[in-house]
């Protein structure tokens, strides 16, 4: 079947087998940050942003993304550089083996979109669908809060508006 959607800002038109999962499709297209850790929605390693919301790509059929906008870890950095979440994960030591990292980034990006200044508890809820076996999550949780602070301080302030805490 023929399918068109947006991947990391570029439009994609491709043929896909009707039974293929979104994970299989994206990996086949070279978006290998979408990791296969369990193929049944348990581990979160295949999380991608679908119209801005984190979903596990192994549980969706490829055909379900017709006309939608998909972001993967490959599309998180822009021409200016790494996304604050990527920077913060590096600085905080939130990356060990790095296999779960792309999925964590997607879940965290979704969270910060909805909740720009999350508490530790909110970060823990936001990442509860992502398994990491290396870190114990301490430095990942810290990194998401660090990234939130980075993004808040980088947000352009409207004229006349007071600058909040740094």
């Amino acid at each position: 079947m023929r399918l068109s959607f947006t991947l990391n800002g570029g439009s994609v038109e491709t043929d896909v087998a009707p039974g293929a999962t979104l994970m299989e499709l994206l990996r086949g297209l070279g978006a290998v940050s979408v990791k296969d850790g369990c193929a049944r929605g348990d581990c979160g390693s295949c999380a991608v942003l679908l119209d801005g919301r984190a979903v596990t790509a192994c549980l969706l059929f490829a055909g379900q993304v017709e006309g939608l906008r998909i972001t993967t870890a490959e599309g998180l950095a822009d021409e200016v550089g790494l996304h604050p979440l990527q920077q913060a994960l590096l600085e905080a030591g939130g990356v060990q083996c790095g296999f779960c990292t792309p999925g964590i980034l997607m879940a965290a990006a979704d969270l910060l979109e909805r909740e720009p200044e999350p508490t530790e508890a909110q970060v823990r809820v936001g990442l509860a669908g992502n398994l990491c076996r290396c870190t114990g999550y301490v430095k990942i949780v810290e990194a998401v809060q660090d990234a939130a602070a980075m993004m808040a301080s980088a947000t352009p302030v409207a004229e006349g508006e007071e600058v909040g805490h740094g």
């Binding site: 850790g37 790095g98 076996r133 301490v138």
Partner: protein, 775 residues
């Protein structure tokens, strides 16, 4: 202490980090698939114990797209071990690629290589197997019973007593333990039992293979042991080592399970037989039931002490369940004693007896902690029980008895890994500081013994202390090569295998420190059997200490060559030159940059490649130490344990990269908490593992864990590179006893069987007559 470092001890950016956060194709399964790649699928035994009477693969072979079907009938009948250990491996050669007798549910029956994975899987269903089902051995007790069925009834010379289902035996004796126990003022006798746990790396085992342009076999593998994998595959398939290349890209976690050569043989044989590239990934279910696990054990610990708390006798009796094959059976077993007993080294009377038994259950192997996890569980619960009998604070009993700097233990000499150990004196031990800092941070003085209640919840604190090693002395060997490039950067090639721990970064820091350059000027390559020098691999907490020492030595040599070249260029006395900030400076202030030295040595005068290779085989294995503390709440209604707070104070010598070191502790503790509370392979009464997906094998998520805190205490080991010891394994040993001791503080029950599920705790509370109505 006192050394000042520029790169070591700093939280440098992880050398592979930027690629990883961008999801670059760095893992085996991410690399482009070669044209004509075959995909492998595995048929495993549905019976715990059976003989294959007949196997018919004709229909599978006839299926369009199938290239090869492998069974015991057409593969090498050569005994070997999957244990990726030094040669000769101290594990029995009790395994074959395929055996006519299957020994656990999940044992190999056949493998199919086909054009697509779907075809390979479809072909599996077309293989008809006729089994003669045999009586299985499904527990330690069944294995040791008179007249038990034999898991290995084939001729097997290197298991301890295969005719009694005993794969391995280990013992060590010092003094007279019975006399010591008999004359003790206080004694305890406790038996703990541990269960089947699995490593659960998020990346399962994955290997791809192909023939290069010279028809050499290339294996790209997610392995902790590329050099052992090359040797073992060469032996098993009768291929000269020089015809094999093993490449390790990034690894998505290992924790010991990738110290096993589990898939490489299937890929190698497929590519050798067909000439085609091949690839195979374990499914998550196979990763759980058909890879490796932690040895379940029964450990009986008897302690005897004087009235003042001085321990006089320690008796440790261990039965380990190695499952169907004896991979790591002897070495994990001996480690139960060798990593547990030296902690309380004042005791003059010590006895250790261990047996590892075969069963028709999943195969155990190397798993972070490597026997210390089980042994220290028994010891640290016994110490708390002893403190209770003596009416002493558990901190006091430990402080009175634990090993210190300058101390030794006969166990270091008596118990090695599969052979005699190596004598050593402790060169660094900051346990007193660890205990003090941890106790203060958890609030020991205010919270211990309070049994505070809130609704149905009751609160308690507990602790335990731990040691590990830093490599295997006089066995582990590592080498490193460094060469200088035009711009003053260096290539650092190490056989050491970064499996996600950050060892590439740590080793790069050591080289950068010695040569006086920033980490960004170190290009780290690990590991490729064609391109990097030998290293036994990433296990036994060896990389920072053993491989780090090789890197330091190679860097020292390169530094010496740089200084010699600079002395020529500056016409100065080499002894007076200073190396720092990418340049070499004479006392009068004149200097040359490393770039200038490099350009001169490559293109100018006295042309030569500034480079060195060095090796390290340490004679000792300095233990890191930790003190572990937790505060728990126990719901007396449901038996649920909530870990509220967790603190580890650690002595790992110099922390080469403090944040990565903390990450090792936190990850290990998280894994240990999961093992203590919720992770369970859950073997049923037929021998089938039920916990074979992340739904049923419950590893901790963010919501299950507190903000684990790591305190790195100031320490320096005189034998380590820049004073460093290991840190990666030790933390996993802590949660079993720390949580058990905290639950006892809260409720008065002793948890001596893992995991501490709500049901098990609830039953224990009821047996003690504790329920919510008491609140």
């Amino acid at each position: 202490m006192g050394e000042k470092f520029e790169v070591v001890g700093h939280n440098e950016r992880k050398v592979d980090g930027t690629a990883l956060v961008q999801g670059k194709p760095v893992f085996v399964a991410d690399l482009p698939e070669r044209a004509g790649t075959l995909h492998l699928a595995l048929k495993t035994s549905p019976h715990p114990h059976a003989r294959i009477r007949a196997i018919d693969t004709s229909a599978a072979e006839a299926l369009d797209g199938v290239a090869l079907v492998m069974t015991h009938e057409n593969t090498p009948d050569r005994p070997y071990t999957t244990a990726g250990q030094g040669y000769p491996e101290p594990s029995p050669y009790d395994t074959r690629m395929f055996s006519p007798k299957v020994r656990f549910i999940g044992d190999r029956v056949a493998a199919v290589a086909a054009d697509t994975l779907e075809t390979a899987r479809a072909a599996l269903d077309l293989i008809h197997v006729e089994y003669e089902v045999l009586e299985p051995v499904l527990s330690i007790d069944e294995a040791l019973a008179d007249g038990a069925p034999l898991v290995h009834d084939e001729p097997l010379s290197d298991a301890w007593q295969a005719d009694r289902n005993i794969a391995a035996y280990s013992e060590a004796v010092a003094g007279d333990v019975e006399a010591g126990l008999a004359s003790a003022d206080a004694s305890v006798d406790v038996t703990v039992e541990t269960h089947y746990g699995q490593h659960a790396p998020i990346e399962p085992h994955v290997v791809s293979s192909y023939l290069d342009e010279h028809d050499r076999l290339v294996l790209v593998s997610s392995t902790q042991v590329p050099f052992h994998a090359r040797r073992i595959i060469g032996y098993l398939l009768d291929v000269p080592v020089h015809r094999i290349r093993v490449i390790k890209p990034r690894i998505g976690g290992g924790f010991g399970v990738k110290q096993e050569v589990l898939l490489e043989d299937l890929l190698a044989l497929t590519t050798l037989r067909t000439g085609r590239p091949a690839s195979m990934i374990y499914t998550r279910e196979q990763e759980f039931y058909a890879s490796r696990t932690r040895h379940p054990m029964r450990v009986r610990m008897r302690l005897g002490a004087d009235a003042d708390g001085t321990i006089q006798a320690i008796d440790m009796d261990v039965i380990s369940n190695t499952g169907a094959y004896g991979t790591h059976s002897l070495t994990v077993l001996s480690n139960v004693g060798s990593k547990t007993l030296p902690m309380y080294n004042l005791a003059p009377n010590i006895r250790f007896i261990g047996r590892a038994v075969y069963t028709n259950l999943p195969v155990a192997g190397a798993y972070r902690g490597y026997g210390a996890t089980q042994g220290q569980y028994a010891m640290e619960v016994a110490i708390d029980q002893l403190a209770g009998k003596l009416g002493m604070d558990p901190l006091e009993v430990r402080s009175k008895n634990h090993i210190r700097e300058g101390g030794t233990s006969p166990i270091f000499r008596e118990l090695g890994e599969g052979r005699e150990g190596v004598e050593q004196t402790i060169g660094s031990c900051e346990l007193p500081a660890c205990i003090e800092l941890g106790a203060e941070r958890i609030g020991w003085a205010n919270k211990r013994g309070q049994r505070r209640r809130e609704g149905s919840w009751v609160y308690g604190v507990g602790m335990s202390i731990h040691m590990q090693g830093s490599g295997i002395p006089l066995i582990d060997m590592a080498a490193a090569s460094i060469k200088l490039n035009d711009d003053g950067s260096i290539n650092l090639a190490v056989g050491a295998t970064d499996l996600g721990t950050g060892s590439d970064t740590v080793l790069g820091q050591i080289a950068a420190e010695v040569i006086g350059i920033p980490l960004a000027k170190v290009i780290v390559t690990s590991s490729d059997t064609d391109l990097t020098p030998f290293d036994t691999g990433a296990y036994a907490s060896s990389t920072t200490y053993v491989s780090g020492t090789a890197v330091r030595k190679a860097a020292d040599e390169v530094r010496g060559q740089l200084v010699a070249a600079a002395a020529e260029m500056l016409d100065a006395d080499p002894a007076e030159l200073e190396v720092a900030d990418e340049q070499i400076t004479a006392p009068d202030g004149r200097s040359v940059t490393l770039e200038k030295i490099a350009l001169r040595s490559l293109y100018g005068a006295n042309q030569h490649q500034i480079a060195a290779t060095a090796s390290s085989v340490p004679e000792v294995s300095p233990p890191p130490f930790i003190a572990s503390f937790a505060e728990v709440a126990v719901d007396t209604d449901t038996g649920h344990i909530h870990v509220l707070d967790y603190v580890v104070a650690a002595d790992c010598g110099t922390a080469v990269h403090p944040r990565l070191a903390e990450g090792q502790v936190e990850g290990a503790v998280a894994n240990g908490i999961g093992y203590a509370l919720s992770e369970d392979l859950a073997i049923d009464d037929r021998g089938r593992a039920r916990g074979v997906d992340f739904g049923r094998y419950k590893i901790p998520v963010t919501l299950d864990l507190p903000m684990i805190e790591t305190v790195l205490v100031d320490s320096y080991d005189p034998t380590g590179p820049m004073g460093a010891k290991s840190i990666a394994e030790i933390g996993i040993n802590a949660p079993l006893p720390t949580i058990a001791n905290a639950v006892h503080d809260a409720t008065g029950i002793w948890l001596t069987q893992s995991p501490y599920t709500a049901e098990r705790v609830w039953r224990a509370l009821r047996e003690e007559g504790i329920d919510a109505s008491e609140v």
